[in-house]
Amino acid sequence: MAAKETRILLKHADDPNYSTSIDSYLAVGGYKMLEQAVTMKPELIRAEVKAAGLRGRGGAGFPCGVKWDLVDRKSGKPIYLICNCDESEPGTFKDRQLVHKDPHQLIEGIMISAYANNVALAFIYIREEMPKGARILRQAIEEARAKGYVGENICGSGYSCDIIVHRGAGAYICGEETGLIESLEGKRAYPRIKPPYFPAVLGLYNCPTIVNNVETLCNVVHICRMGSVEYAKIGRPNNTGTRIWCVSGHVQRPGYYEVAGITMGELLYDLCGGPLPGRKFKAIVPGGGSMKILRYDERFKGKNPDGSEYEYGVDDIPLDFDGVAAAGSMSGSAGMMVMDDSVDIMEALANLVGFYSHESCGQCTPCREGSLWAKKITWRMCRGDAREQDLDTLVSMAGNIGGRTVCPMGFSTTWPVQSYVGKFREEIEAKVRENKVGMRGDIRLIEK
């Protein structure tokens, strides 16, 4: 039987009769959970979110309830909540849907989470390239304020909390939570070093701060609605709830698919319609451009409960945090980029390395210089100007970035270089050997 979507967060998003107005949202029962939440003890809501097993949808998959537990509630300082809508990891476009098509769901999620954590001021940090999204959110906040869901004395409970929509200005690193916080303070978005700057303790204005992704906060509404027990039945243990997978590249039906408990093959074939006519899948980047690539013909080893081993392929990978991790990559931001046999893998790598070199904040030498070197080397390989030692230099240099920097972005150069060269070495070596100007693939992926 063909796999289907499990639409919870996106239930109304694509309904032609549904709009971004508060009336649409109220008509489908919107803000009921907030009304109920503000009559409850905040710690009860926190316990529900924790029991539901909700893991962060921004990239790292950190359990949301555990993050909220880490908040320093004894400091006497105000606690801030920041909704991360910087969405800029290559291949990711799920937060865009949630913000542009159902903004009130997000606002309700933010308000419940704010109440649960005694927050009096929340922010939505939205990337500059979503000007309409910012406008939609601002209008939605004003509508919600007029009905008593945002601002003073929410639902007559005596609890007050405002939301500020703050726009970025084109820097990918503002997605990293401490870079985001610096930017929100009016500074360059240089990520902070952890420790001591764990946002839960020393975040915005050195106050305890929660940073959560858009999709994570939307899930909070549904945890309240279903209760943690029902919610936790969706998906697999430790991977509860749905995830919105963004599929781009060479499939018949690219798009966003909210699913639970399916495999990568079911997503690629049943939902996305398989490869383009006459083509074969070649490689898949499962969770946004930073993540390690999978070769479509790769085989993995799993363990049965009795300890015996079994083999499986890319199509069999369970499509969730643990499933993709077991295959040696990460589900990251769920931005899946699919490449077929028309693609020159070296060029794909060069394209992404170009991105990470452009987006390095420049604070750490290994990331700033390393990503630029990697760009120069991969680009000259593509342009037919490679030197004999280039491939070795590239690999050894890339291995010296990740883990030696202030923020995890160092890995965004390390992982692609290591995995593309590791898994497609023959193709890349052949290309370097030929060293011809011009591309092997059918499409040009970098500048001339």
């Binding site: 309409k132 500020i164 726009r167 978005a189 781009s248 690219p254 693609v343 499409i443 970098i446």
Partner: protein, 174 residues
């Protein structure tokens, strides 16, 4: 002494700036929205503007300069009347973004990464616009154009030319 840059701004922009600043717990936090409001109004962040913001937010010049120079979308050179940003990142590239760019350059008579001499069009690469499933994508002023097909760019080119000829672009509200 307050510099007179404020007089150049539209009254709505000034009013907006006055409204933004007190919303933040700390004044310095209002820096980005203030810069955005100025750029939307002026299509550039000039040295005068920087000095004005320094005074407005009680900062040092370096505090404003470091931010203006860090973020790619704050501009110290004027942006053309129509601002075209084509995504070059992998998903869009897989769908032919570079072919689209070749055609745009030719048809618009504007080299990638530059503003046309008459100041009407700024044509640039953008990094992933979070619209990868419908690539290639481009942001034209405030509007996202998706599924740009190399062989069907006529309407988009016409739209860009219309905006480039037609005076005031739709401002992005701060």
């Amino acid at each position: 002494m307050a510099n007179s840059f404020g007089n150049k701004l539209k009254p709505e922009t000034l009013a907006e700036i006055e409204k933004i600043i007190p919303r933040y717990p700390q004044k310095r936090s209002a820096l980005m929205p203030v810069l955005q409001a100025i750029q939307d109004d002026q299509r550039v962040i000039s040295n005068d503007a920087i000095e004005w913001v320094v005074e407005k937010l009680d900062l040092q010049p370096i505090n404003v300069l470091e931010v203006v120079s860090f973020f790619p979308n704050y501009r110290q050179k004027p942006i053309g009347k129509c601002w075209v940003r084509v995504c070059r990142t992998l998903s869009c590239a897989l769908h032919g973004a570079y072919k689209v760019v070749d055609i745009l350059e030719k048809e618009l008579g504007c080299k990638m990464g530059t503003t046309s001499e008459d100041g009407s069009i700024t044509l640039e690469y953008a990094e992933c616009l979070a619209a990868c499933g419908t690539g290639p994508g481009a942001l034209i002023d405030e509007d996202l154009f998706e599924n740009l097909k190399p062989d069907d760019l006529g309407p988009v080119i016409a739209e860009i030319k219309k905006r480039a000829a037609g005076g005031v672009p739709t401002p992005t509200k701060g």
